[in-house]
Point group: C2
Chain length 488, copies 2
């Protein structure tokens, strides 16, 4: 089942997805119906938790408890949360402008606008979250919620888990009333690329490396008809520690930081890769102790393990960078490494210090004062997060940093760590390139559904031909904007 999907089979699956798309529209699948599909899918996955967690542990080296069980819980919670989004209805952004002969720029016709599904979506699964960013993950959940069939390109890191999750998900969706073709899994790099080039695909999403994501983005952009490509690629996730925070709780920060950059063997897209500390911070011993207290963990697979080793060698070879702390590799486990440099060393080092190094490594950069820190931040590439560790008494200093931090991140954290991304209404997981290829969107949280919808306006239509979301009597009781006024 992990064999490459061949051309004939791929075309059959894409055609089925397109048919499901057409059928879904003609049959006018309602948000309420789709909510019931998602709930059924979540229930089916929860029911198969033992089997799925065992498969995942075998294929990814991640611990079953608490990690994989927690991740599956997150995944099924996410499916159900999109059911709440569907019940709420605001995601449709329904707007009704009645005809207005007195509209200042000239008579206005009756015009009504609502979002419709964009069409079949191709999702590229990630390796590092075999549930939450894979077959039944956030991209799948949000695309299905939007009313789009999904063709899921499995990650080769967990092929058996992908196939099994896909079976359970598809069967549950169809049993709950979704059209055949609403969800299918494909395997293999070639099949993924071929699908991305297929005219039947209307949008694509991806979570993974900058190199892989950029290659796919380029393919999507080079199509005869380019399509939206939502790639979540890479992030350095800087952490700024103020002098006050060092004084007040330096040791605690050292511990929190070591825990965060080594969590899951550093294989989180939100792993803090840079720690800015004031010169003379005096935390070297605390950092060494904190790193020493972490234990070597196996990485996802051999390719990732060797990629990390190569990235680390590159960093260690830089003359301006020294090793501050580290733990040995042990058995299958990869140890953690903490590097260090100064602001001047960082500025003159090659790009490696500014790029994501996927695995349990991070770099401490010392700064001499506020101005130097601002200069360092101005040089950073955008990413998913930026974190501040500071004291309440330093709010004026921190306020002066916020424009620079906002420029380079989609999520800012105060006295917390960036690993751990809650799924909620206000979550934002995205940012300017290379964090993502689509900085106006998020791949986590309820707003992720907006990626897979496009607006359509109906001008002058009789009520009988309007979609329910736009009918005069508002049969779905949607929140709408009517003649410019918000209403329910």
């Amino acid at each position: 089942m992990s064999d490459e999907t061949d051309t004939g089979e791929l075309r059959r699956l894409l055609t089925a997805a397109a048919a499901a798309d057409a059928a879904g529209r003609t049959a006018a699948s309602t948000p309420e119906e789709r909510a019931s599909w998602l709930t059924a899918a979540a229930d089916a996955l929860d029911g198969a938790a033992d089997e799925l967690v065992e498969l995942a542990a075998a294929e990814t080296h991640l611990p079953a408890t608490p990690r994989l069980r927690g991740e599956l819980l997150r995944t099924t919670f996410q499916l159900r949360l999109f059911g709440e989004v569907l019940a709420d209805g605001e995601f449709l952004d329904a707007r009704v402008d009645h005809a207005d002969p007195g509209w200042p720029m000239g008579p206005r016709p009756d015009i009504r606008r609502v979002r419709v599904p964009i069409g079949p979506v191709l999702v590229f699964a990630a390796s590092n979250f075999p549930f939450a960013f894979s077959v039944a993950g956030g991209d799948t959940a949000s695309a299905l919620a939007a009313g789009c069939p999904v063709v899921l390109k499995a990650h080769p890191g967990h092929p058996r888990l992908s196939a099994r999750t896909g079976e359970i998900l598809r069967d549950a969706l169809v049993a709950a009333g979704a059209p055949a073709g609403v969800f299918e899994v494909i395997h293999g790099v070639e099949a993924g690329v071929e699908a991305l080039r297929d005219p039947l695909v209307a949008a694509a999403s991806f979570t993974g490396s900058v190199a892989g994501g950029r290659a796919l983005f380029d393919i999507a952009a080079a199509r005869p008809n380019p399509i939206p490509f939502y790639g979540e690629l890479g992030s350095v996730n800087p952490v700024v520690v103020t002098p006050g925070a060092v004084r007040a709780r330096g040791e605690q920060i050292a511990k929190g930081f070591a825990g965060s950059f080594t969590l899951g063997a550093g294989q989180f897209c939100t792993k803090p890769g840079l720690l800015f500390l004031p010169e003379g911070h005096g935390l070297e011993d605390a950092l060494r102790d904190a790193v020493a207290a972490t234990s070597a963990q196996p990485m996802l697979n051999e390719r990732i393990t060797s990629g990390f080793a190569a990235g680390l060698d590159r960093l260690r070879a830089l003359p301006e960078v020294r090793v501050l702390a580290g733990t040995e590799n042990a058995g299958d486990g990869t140890g953690a490494t903490l590097l260090a440099t100064t602001a001047a060393g960082f500025a003159k080092s090659d790009a490696a210090v500014r790029e994501e190094c996927f695995g349990p490594a991070s770099i401490v950069v010392t700064y001499s004062g506020h101005a130097e820190l601002l200069g360092l931040l101005a040089e950073l590439e955008p990413g998913l997060t930026a974190t501040v560790q500071a004291e309440e008494s330093e709010v004026d200093d921190v306020r002066a940093l916020l424009p620079a931090l906002t420029r380079i991140a989609g999520r800012l954290l105060w006295n917390d760590w960036p690993t751990g991304v809650t799924v909620s209404w206000a979550q934002q997981h995205g940012g300017p390139y290379p964090a993502t290829t689509a900085p106006t969107s998020t791949s986590v949280g309820t707003a992720a559904i907006e990626r897979f919808l496009r607006p359509v306006a109906w001008q002058g239509f009789p009520d009988a031909l309007l979609p329910p979301a736009l009918r005069e009597d508002n049969p779905w009781r949607l929140p709408r904007r009517t003649d410019g006024e918000r209403s329910e």
Copy 2:
């Protein structure tokens, strides 16, 4: 003033825009302030109406009244309407999730999300609407409303008008309190391309031809850091006429159609380029009369006039296509041409029949019945609009067409004509490629502001450091979503 902007000057202007961006954020320009800037700009442009309309008429051959005066009215109305969007506040999509230890997937931190300006925007002006889609047009209005400085690449078709409009706009904005650098005009193809490649530019927008827009889209996508590119490129705008509509008001439809496809010398992106009529419609004479009643009009410039002639020659040379009606060129004016073919002829003709021909030409395609019509629609490329002329008694037939029409258009019209695009809350001007390069967005209507905003989440921040939109006491009285519930 219409000379190519040179490299040094361009870099100076982009740096000024970036500075305005940074200053705008640190000074926390409020939506209320930006609304006052836009109102001041609208007042200044209205005040200079005589001068601007005279310049526009001289450079574009468009009639001063009602066309250019009406277009300027639309333009200043649009600036003021975005002021209403700013006062309303929902465009910020503010969301507040309080910390929740009982959140089902695990304890939730306090997390709050709001949209921020994306950064300096490069706008490429269009030729065919020298006010409404040019210097002070919809892209500029929506980007400024979002809080982004704008660098405007003038269209070479009206350089003096562009420079003068730019001066008035910039001076009014700055006099109203906007930072220097908030708006500048550049000239020349090379300067536009160089600006599009500049790292200081965060997003770009364009209205124009498929060839030009695709070339710029490709440049934006090939940047080391790709940026959003909102291109509105081309559209065929099919019109479907049902048998009942032909019987009930065939002559009136012929007149309305001839008026729409020749409006403004056919230089509207929403010009109806295909008219689907049932076989045996009997409207040939009515169409000939209607076209004969139109008068030759000068096109925008020589390049467009000769481009239209070449496109028309290509269509006339197709063996399956015949000329049904036409008016002669007269003086500087370009006459209208109506072509005709059958469903079979359309299916086997080369791509020219399915592509936009910019100018006063359109093609009648006859269909034998509902199934053939559906087959024809399934073959069409997406566009900005699709129109149905039908009787209320035919709603069941029309309902069966809607999925196909929705697939290929961003705006559907019932018994109306697609030329004429109102600016309102529910307007949608966009669609899948080649209508636009960004099908999830609109370039007309209040939702156009969303293109130039990106979301940022604040996690765990003390109130004193949060942007006003997210503070606990909601000082701007914004509509927000709090813990998943909509509230005001």
